[in-house]
């Protein structure tokens, strides 16, 4: 199973990478939404995990771009969030986000959330 992780924080990316690889996923990293879209041109993914606050292209814009493609309409997209105001999370969902992962996440929780949205 291939996972695309999009976050501008190398810490979060490396933690995701470790947890996901431990669980047997193949992981591709991108540092912002634009790089995320680039990665999606290169290959197919079973699930996408994306941060919201990012430079160049933020997570909301990224999700909208992904969903705009018919090919990606049933691709699960999980939003990484620490926002207290729920506002960003709701924006992410409105843009087409499938679910969310609350930072800081523990690896087991992360994997279980993925299993909730991927066959």
């Amino acid at each position: 199973m291939r996972v695309l992780t999009v976050d501008d924080s190398p810490t979060i990316l490396s933690m995701l990478d470790h947890a996901l690889k431990e669980a047997g996923f193949e992981v591709v990293q991108a540092e912002d939404g634009q790089k995320g879209l680039d990665a999606m041109k290169e290959g197919e993914f079973d699930v996408v995990i994306t941060d919201i606050n990012m430079p160049v292209m933020d997570g909301i814009e990224f999700i909208k771009n992904v969903r705009a493609s018919k090919a990606n309409q049933s691709l699960p997209i999980l939003i990484l969030t620490t926002e207290s105001s729920q506002e960003k999370r709701d924006q992410g969902r409105a843009a087409g986000g499938t679910g969310w992962i609350v930072k800081p996440f523990d690896p087991a929780k992360l994997i279980s959330v993925i299993h909730r949205v991927v066959y």
């Binding site: 501008d8 924080s9 190398p10 810490t11 979060i12 490396s14 933690m15 470790h18 912002d32 634009q34 879209l37 999606m40 041109k41 197919e44 606050n53 990012m54 430079p55 160049v56 292209m57 909208k64 771009n65 992904v66 969903r67 705009a68 493609s69 018919k70 090919a71 990606n72 309409q73 049933s74 691709l75 699960p76 997209i77 969030t81 620490t82 926002e83 207290s84 729920q86 969902r93 087409g96 986000g97 499938t98 679910g99 969310w100 609350v102 930072k103 800081p104 996440f105 299993h115 909730r116 949205v117 991927v118 066959y119």
Partner: protein, 764 residues
Amino acid sequence: MSELDEFKATYFEECSELLGDLEEEFAAIEEGDRDTERLNAVFRAIHSIKGGAGAFGFNQLVEFAHSFETLLDFVRDGRVELTDDVVTLCIRSIDLVADFVGAARDGEELASDFGEEELARFKLLSGEDEEEPMEEFDIDFTPVMVNVGDDDGELPAVPTSDINDETLAGEDENDSFEQAPLAEGHRYWKVDFTPHYELYERANDPLLLFRELGTLGEVEVKAHLVKTPKLKEFDPFGIYCKWEIVLRNEDVSKEDIAEVFEFVEGDCELSISQVMAEADIDSDLVGFEEDMAPEAQTLETQPDQQQELQQELQQDLQHKAEEEAADESMLSLADLAAEIEPAPAPPVREENLVEENKPEQEKAKKAAAKAPAVQSIRVDLDKVDRVVNMVGELVITQSMLNQQMDDKIKAQYQELVRGVEVLAQTTRGLQDAVMAIRAQPVKSVFSRMPRLVRELAKKTDKKIRLEMVGEYTEIDKTIIEQLSDPLTHMIRNSADHGVETPEKRLAAGKSETGTIQLSAEQAGGNIIIAVEDDGAGINRERVLNLARERGVVGPDQQLSDEQIDELVFAPGFSTADGVSDISGRGVGMDVVISNIKKIGGSVHVRSKPGKGTRMILRLPLTLAVLDVMLVEAGDGPYVIPLSSIVETMQCDRADFGFAPSGRRVLQIRGEYVQVIDLVTRFEMTTKVPDNKRFVVLCEGEGSTKVALIVDEIIGQQQVVIKSLEENFERIDGIAGGTILGNGEVALIVDVAGLKQTPEQQSAA
């Protein structure tokens, strides 16, 4: 390193980058640049610092960053005005964040009231209630009870069974259950679930939800295939189902079930209720339905309406039976999967994103154009170092090959010679390329200095302008990390002692504002970093008197102007006023300088009275390759870092004497210098007569000198440093090893370490 330590290392590296960015952004903001993207960038930086801190449980940092972030968020959307005061608070707070990060890194606990004042101001400014919890670390999902009835009129989604005349009775029964739980029979959960179209739009899938529910206990899923159209009218994206799920596990809470549906909240109608059963429910549908007594039944449907719906449903079901024989409304999970698979938005992925998405692509391209065009990857420093190391080996092998080729071979094998020449060229290119990977612009250190100068100017009531030249000069990453302290000290020195007060400057016929120029340039194999001011210059008389007072210089010792200038860096001289409350670490200039020397650098100062002072840091381009002098002592070659050598002379021209302790000293220009014979120091013997040997005068820690006696001086060259600790063990007085062109191993003399032997200490 454990995994957690690795994550932490990544995090702290990220933090130092982010803190550097923050400094830079706020410097621009302070100058009046209120660009939205700048404000977004500072918000993101603090946000990222907080995010990581949360992951590692650095709670003090999380709390501080959270309030800081809130303020920045308010600033960003205009709720808080970005006044000079707020900017000053933010700049000060970046320092505090750095302190919190530093404490977290060093595993220290800061005082619980550290940063309290700023924290209070954040909260005051953003109107944040002190008691407000940081809810983002909880999952703040609240289950919502939704009416099962459909109100969009299109879908008479009322189930066939759960609306019946027993509703009231069911409620009564439920009440009695509340009063006497577990008294009668078993309880189970009943979930009514009707997805909306949006649920599919967001790539959620009922089947996955049921599977998830299945992890909580035994489930039975019943699909109500209401309004299933004829096949030719069937819209693959249409919603024709609603579900009724029975979950048989008394230990599961309502919240557990609600959590399964948290991602589809608002995208479906959902009702979760607990039901009492007199007897065990078997899979017989009718019995099961009659036992239903939903706790949270909120539907108020008129009986006739119900009848109508039931009739309609029955018709529908019959209709469907005729069409497809899909009249079984009770389906196992597996059956269900087969049933719903083709229905909602099937995954079709052969289409390309590029084709699909033209306008967005254009936009994305523009966004990409705005971003810097440099593409980069993040590589573990260890990996780069491995490459650096191997290239080092390659350089050695290549020079070995070169040395092995005498004139005879050269004449005989011209092709080989050409090959070796190309190899030499390629190796040199490879070495440069690898060094370039480790290199970073000095800008990351330089960018912290404008603020330092502003603060110093404020503190000292002087007017100082900072000029920076050559910020994009690149230098080895490890060296950059060592640069911050010395630069801080040098600039502080210039601001404190160099630049005069505005009055004095005017009196001296200079402009009111003093200038400090910070410059970086590459010169040969070195990077020269200079701090130059147009101040009063070093007051040599005062420095000399002070040095005499503190015993740094003997009462009769005569010093040249240059030597007096260099006293600024002497240990014991600068500690009193050199301890910087700005760097805050209480580290004297001498320690800073000795750190520079440890990495193969040197420090010099030139001053012209009345005109200004120039302090020069000379640093090697890289740490991996060292400029050395190759010498012979006893039975082997040794190398001495060129940066620590002051001069060399023949022994028979040197003026040796004996100290009262009986130890040999070298007298040079009125100074007595400790003598260390490498041969005796490393317990070897030599056949070279004393008068044919050489003195290598070195400068050790804090410009104290030491005279090394060696058998022979061979020449200068570059060597690749190999760690002795990694390959053998630590030896006092030896900094490492290297492999010479002929394959011989030479040890690198650690001049400072030589002095610290017990023997020397007792002699002192």
